[in-house]
C-alpha cells in the first residue's frame, strides 16, 4: 500500500475532483445475517482488556440497510454528478438492485414534498429490490432448494457484474491507442475532468472461516476428473479464489479500488476474509473490519466516503493490517502458507503429487519422497508480534491484537492443511 508521503508537488489539494460512481456490493446472505443479528457472547478471557471488554452488539439487516441508505445519500449529496450502483449478493446469486432497469422505472408512487427526489428514488428502490431478493430466497427455501442456500454469497459474480458495469460506463482508455500512439501520456489514474472516478465497496457479512458447502469430496473428484478433461472447458466451479483474483487484476487494470468492509466482528470471525483483504490491498482499496460495537455510520462516512483521489490528501485511511498473501490450493481448496507449485503452469497444490492435475506434467519421481517428508515437516512458526499493537483508544483503529490473533489461528489451520490432513476449514472460497 503506497501511503502517500506528500511530496512538495502533491502538497496542493486538488481543487476539484471528478464525479464518482460508487458501486456497492451488499452481502445479504441470510445465514450470515442471522449470525450478525445474534452474535455469540464475548470470549470469557479477553485477549486484550483495552479492546475486548465489550461484546458485539447485534446488527440486523434492516438496521444496516438504514445505515447504508444514509451513507449512499451522503455520497449522492457530496458532489453533483455522483452516482450509486448497488448489487445484492446472496447464496449463490447476485443481482443488480439499483439503478432499476430503464423499462421498470415507475418512480415512487408519490413524491414526498420534503425530500430530495434522488434520495427517495434510491431508498425506495433499494428497499424494494432487497425485499424482492429476500422473497426469492424464501421461495427457494419453500421449494426445498436448500443445497444452494448453504453456498457462500456470490461475491465473485457480483464483482464481475460491477466490473462489467464499470467497463460500460467508463470504457478503458483504449489499450490499442496507447500502443499505437506511445507518445500519448499515460496518465496515471486516467482521470480527466469529465471521466468519472469509480470505486467498488464490498460489504461482506459472511465470516471468513465459513466452510463452503460445496462438498470437498465432490470438488476433489472434480479435480481428478478435470485432469483428463480439456483445460479449455473453463472450469470455474472451483474458482472462488481464481475468480476473485481475476476480478482483482481486472480492477487493477481499470484502476478501480475495491474497498472492503467486513461486518462480522472478531467475536464471530476470528480470521479475516483474507482473499477480500488481499483484493483490497492489491487494488489499493481500504480494508476494514467492524469491531461489532456500533458506530457503523460514522465509520462508513469517515473511511469510505472520500473518493480515491482524496483518500490520502486531505483525508486519511485507517492503517492497514498485516495482509496474508496465502493462496488456495487447486486440489482441496485449502488455504496454504506453503504450497507445492507446478513449475510449468504455476498451479498450487497442498501436497506433493507425481503428476500435475492441470497441465499433466510429470514431475521427477525421484524428488517425490523428499517433498513428501518436507510436506510432513511443514510446521508453521507462529508469527511473533513484530509490530506491537499500538495503544489506542477503544475502537478507533481496526487493527491490533484481534487481527494478529486471527492471523495466528489462520496459520494453525494452514499448517494442518499443508500436512495433508483434513484440518479445520479456512476461508475456502469466497463466492
Amino acid at each position: 500500500m503506497t501511503t502517500a508521503q506528500p511530496t512538495a508537488a502533491e502538497a496542493v489539494y486538488p481543487t476539484t475532483t471528478p464525479p464518482s460512481v460508487l458501486l456497492v456490493i451488499v452481502d445479504i446472505h441470510p445465514l450470515s445475517w442471522s449470525l450478525l443479528a445474534s452474535p455469540p457472547p464475548a470470549p470469557p478471557f479477553p485477549v486484550n482488556h483495552a479492546i475486548d471488554l465489550a461484546g458485539a452488539s447485534p446488527m440486523t439487516l434492516p438496521d444496516f440497510v438504514t445505515i447504508l441508505m444514509v451513507f449512499l445519500n451522503a455520497h449522492l449529496a457530496s458532489r453533483w454528478g455522483n452516482e450509486v450502483v448497488v448489487y445484492g449478493a446472496t447464496a449463490g446469486r447476485a443481482k443488480l438492485l439499483y439503478p432499476p432497469p430503464p423499462s421498470a422505472v415507475a418512480g415512487p408512487s408519490k413524491p414526498r414534498p420534503n425530500s430530495y427526489r434522488p434520495f427517495q428514488l434510491l431508498d425506495s428502490r433499494i428497499e424494494e429490490g432487497l425485499r424482492e431478493m429476500i422473497s426469492e430466497e424464501e421461495d427457494r427455501l419453500q421449494s426445498g432448494d436448500t443445497a444452494k442456500l448453504n453456498e457462500p454469497s456470490a461475491m465473485v459474480s457480483a464483482l464481475t457484474k460491477a466490473l462489467c458495469f464499470i467497463n460500460r460506463i467508463v470504457p478503458p482508455s483504449n489499450n490499442t491507442s496507447d500502443i499505437t500512439n506511445p507518445n500519448e501520456p499515460l496518465a496515471p489514474g486516467g482521470s480527466g475532468p469529465d471521466r468519472p472516478e469509480t470505486r467498488i465497496l464490498v460489504i461482506n457479512a459472511t465470516p471468513g472461516a465459513h466452510v463452503s458447502a460445496s462438498s470437498d469430496g465432490q470438488t476433489n473428484g472434480d479435480a481428478d476428473g478435470n485432469a483428463s478433461a480439456q483445460p479449455t472447458q473453463g472450469n470455474q466451479q472451483r474458482g472462488g479464489y481464481v475468480g476473485l483474483m481475476n476480478c482483482v487484476f481486472a480492477a487493477q487494470k481499470a484502476k478501480v479500488p475495491i474497498d472492503v468492509l467486513s461486518l462480522p466482528p472478531p467475536t464471530i470471525d476470528a480470521s479475516p476474509p483474507i482473499f477480500l483483504q488481499q483484493a483490497a490491498h492489491l487494488t489499493e482499496g481500504v480494508y476494514w473490519q467492524w469491531n461489532g460495537r456500533g458506530g457503523l455510520l460514522q465509520y462508513l462516512h469517515a473511511v469510505y466516503l472520500p473518493p480515491a483521489s482524496l483518500r490520502h490528501r486531505p483525508f486519511a485511511v485507517p492503517p492497514q493490517d498485516a495482509v496474508g498473501f496465502r493462496a488456495a490450493c487447486f486440489c482441496h481448496h485449502k488455504t496454504l502458507d506453503i504450497g507445492f507449485v507446478c513449475s510449468v503452469c504455476l498451479s498450487i497444490f497442498c501436497e506433493p503429487r507425481p503428476v500435475c492435475l492441470m497441465c499433466k506434467t510429470r514431475f521427477p519421481i525421484k524428488s517425490l519422497p523428499t517433498l513428501k517428508t518436507l510436506a510432513a515437516n511443514i510446521q508453521s512458526i507462529p508469527i511473533p508480534d513484530t509490530v506491537p499493537p499500538p495503544i489506542i483508544p477503544k475502537g478507533v483503529t481496526p487493527n491490533g491484537p484481534n487481527s494478529v490473533d486471527g492471523t495466528r489461528k489462520g496459520r494453525g489451520a494452514g499448517k494442518t492443511g499443508g500436512g495433508g490432513g483434513g484440518g479445520r476449514g479456512e476461508p475456502i472460497e469466497i463466492d
Binding site: S157, N167, L186, A254, I348, F349, C359, I378, R411
Partner: protein, 470 residues
C-alpha cells in the same frame, strides 16, 4: 577527448574484424559524433535490422480500397455498416485468444537506457528520446502483464556514467511514474556501455540462479566511452556470459560490432530499428519469456528454466520437464515499527515474513535468506491462472433463438438492455462473422446472455464469466 582510446579489443582474433569495421567507418553515421567510433561503425548500414520480413516495404503493400468494403444499407446510411465492421474487428480479436501461451517463472530484467546526446536526434518524431520513453511506458505495462513474477530495474547511461534510475522491483506503477518524469531524464553526454553492464551485473548478482536474468539495452549512440583501466568491455562480456545474463540489444542508429558480439555471446538478440514500427516490434519481441512452446505433450506452457539450462538457446526442441517447487506465501507486515530484515540486516519498515522460518524479508519474490524457501506472493501466481481456467467463447444468438427461448432482457454482465428483437428486420439478421444480429452472446455453460461489450471485456480482461461464477 579520447573517447574510444580505452576501447582496446581484448583478443587478437578480434582485431581483424575491427579493422573491417574501421574500413566501413568512412560512411557517415546518423550521429554527428560518428566519425571515429572504434566499433561504432556501420552506422549507416540501417537495413541490417533483423527480425522483419525484408522483402516487402510498407510502400510495396498491396493497394486496397477501403471504401469497397463498406456498403450502404437500405436507407442509404453507412452507420450500420460501420458499426458491423467495428464489431467484427473486436470479435476477431476476442476469438483469437485461445491459442496457447508461454509463461515464465521468474524473470529479472534490467533495461539499460542510453540517454546520450544522440537521443535528441530527430530521425524519429519528435525525438528518439520521446519515442523511446513512450514505448517503454507501454512496454513495462505489457511486460508485467505477461510476466507476473518478473521484476524490472532501469539503468540510464549518460555523461559516461551509469545510474540506477529504478532499482529492481515488481511494481510497474513506480517505473511508470519515473519514466513519465522527463526532466529527470534529460539526455546529455556520451554513454558508457561498460559501466551500464557492470552495474546491471552487480544489481543482479544476488538473485537466485533459477530465475532468468536479462538485460535489455536500448542503444542510441554509435560509440561507447568506457573507463580506463584493466577491465575492458570484453572482460565484462565474459563475466556476463559466465553469470548467464542474457543481453538483448536494440540499436537505434546502426549496427555496432560490440553490441552484436555481446548479444550473440550471451544468447540474446541484436536488432537495429528501421523505423518506429520496427522499433516497437523489436521491443515487443522481448516481452514473451525467452523460450518457445514445443511438443504436443505440454498443452500450454513451457518451462523456462529448462530452456535456460539448455544454454540460453531459444527453442531447443525439448519437451518441458516439470518440477514441483515448494513455495511459501508470506505475510505482509503493516508499515508499523522498524525491524531488522534478514536479507540486508537493516532496520526497515514493512516487509514480508517467511511462512516457514518467520524471518523478515524486504521484498518478494525471493529466496528466503534463512531457510531457502522460495517466497512468492500468491497474487503473482494468480495472475496467470486465467490461462488455466479460460472462459469459453460465447455463442451467438440469432433472432430465432431469442424468439423461441425465453431470454432475459438485459445483459447479465452490465445490465444494459438488449435491443428489442422485434425491431430487427430479417434481412440483416443473419449470423455473420461471429457478430450477433441480436446483440446477444450466450455462455454455453450458464446460459446467461451478454452484450458485445461485456463479451469482449470478459474474454480480454476479466477472464471470469459472471454467470458461471454464481
Amino acid at each position: 577527448m579520447p573517447l574510444d582510446v580505452n576501447y582496446a579489443p581484448g583478443g587478437s582474433d578480434e582485431e581483424e574484424e575491427d579493422d573491417e569495421d574501421i574500413l566501413n567507418d568512412n560512411r557517415p553515421g546518423p550521429s554527428s559524433r560518428g566519425g571515429k567510433g572504434g566499433s561504432g561503425a556501420g552506422g549507416a548500414a540501417k537495413p541490417n535490422g533483423k527480425g522483419k520480413d525484408p522483402g516487402r516495404h510498407a510502400w510495396e503493400a498491396e493497394y486496397k480500397a477501403s471504401w469497397d468494403v463498406v456498403q450502404e444499407d437500405e436507407s442509404g446510411s453507412l452507420e450500420s455498416a460501420v458499426e458491423s465492421l467495428l464489431a467484427r474487428g473486436r470479435r476477431k480479436r476476442a476469438l483469437m485468444s485461445e491459442t496457447p501461451v508461454r509463461r515464465s517463472i521468474i524473470r529479472h530484467l534490467f533495461i539499460i537506457l542510453d540517454l546520450s546526446e544522440s537521443m535528441n536526434d530527430k530521425d524519429y518524431r519528435p525525438t528518439r528520446f520521446e519515442v523511446i520513453l513512450g514505448y517503454l511506458r507501454t512496454y513495462v505495462v505489457e511486460w508485467f502483464d505477461q510476466n507476473p513474477l518478473g521484476q524490472i530495474g532501469i539503468i540510464i547511461l549518460r555523461d559516461r556514467l551509469s545510474e540506477v534510475l529504478v532499482p529492481m522491483g515488481g511494481n510497474p506503477q513506480e517505473i511508470l511514474s519515473v519514466l513519465s518524469d522527463k526532466r529527470r531524464l534529460e539526455p546529455s553526454g556520451e554513454p558508457s556501455l561498460q559501466n551500464g553492464l557492470v552495474m546491471a551485473k552487480g544489481g543482479m548478482s544476488h538473485l537466485p540462479s533459477t530465475s532468468s536474468l536479462e538485460v535489455l539495452i536500448v542503444f542510441s549512440a554509435i560509440s561507447t566511452a568506457d573507463p580506463d583501466g584493466s577491465t575492458t568491455i570484453h572482460t565484462v562480456l565474459n563475466d556476463l556470459v559466465t553469470s548467464r545474463i542474457r543481453t538483448n540489444i536494440i540499436a537505434l542508429a546502426g549496427e555496432i560490432k560490440i553490441c552484436r558480439q555481446i548479444s550473440e555471446r550471451t544468447g540474446g538478440k541484436f536488432g537495429v530499428a528501421l523505423d518506429q514500427d520496427h522499433l516497437k516490434d523489436l521491443l515487443w519481441e522481448t516481452i514473451p519469456p525467452p523460450a518457445t512452446t514445443v511438443s504436443s505433450s505440454a498443452p500450454t506452457t513451457m518451462n523456462v528454466r529448462s530452456a535456460l539450462a539448455a544454454g540460453g538457446k531459444a527453442g531447443g526442441g525439448k519437451a518441458p520437464v516439470g518440477d514441483l517447487m515448494v513455495m511459501g506465501f508470506p505475510i505482509r507486515l503493516p508499515l508499523g515499527g522498524e525491524t531488522l530484515c534478514a536479507c540486508h540486516g537493516l532496520l526497515k519498515k514493512g516487509g514480508y515474513l517467511c511462512p516457514r522460518c518467520g524471518s523478515k524479508l524486504c521484498d518478494v519474490p525471493t529466496d528466503c535468506e534463512v531457510c531457502g524457501l522460495m517466497v512468492v506472493s500468491s497474487p503473482h501466481l494468480a495472475r496467470s491462472f486465467w490461462f488455466l481456467f479460460p472462459v469459453a467463447n460465447y455463442g451467438v444468438l440469432g433472432v430465432e433463438d431469442v424468439m423461441s427461448v425465453a431470454s432475459s432482457e438485459t445483459c447479465f454482465g452490465c445490465d444494459v438492455e438488449f435491443p428489442d428483437v422485434s425491431t430487427i428486420d430479417a434481412g440483416v439478421a443473419q449470423v455473420e462473422d461471429g457478430v450477433s444480429p441480436t446483440g446477444r452472446y450466450r455462455c454455453a455453460k450458464c446460459r446467461s446472455d451478454f452484450c458485445a461489450d461485456c463479451d469482449l471485456y470478459i474474454h480480454d480482461t476479466l477472464h471470469t464469466c459472471p454467470g458461471c461464477a454464481q
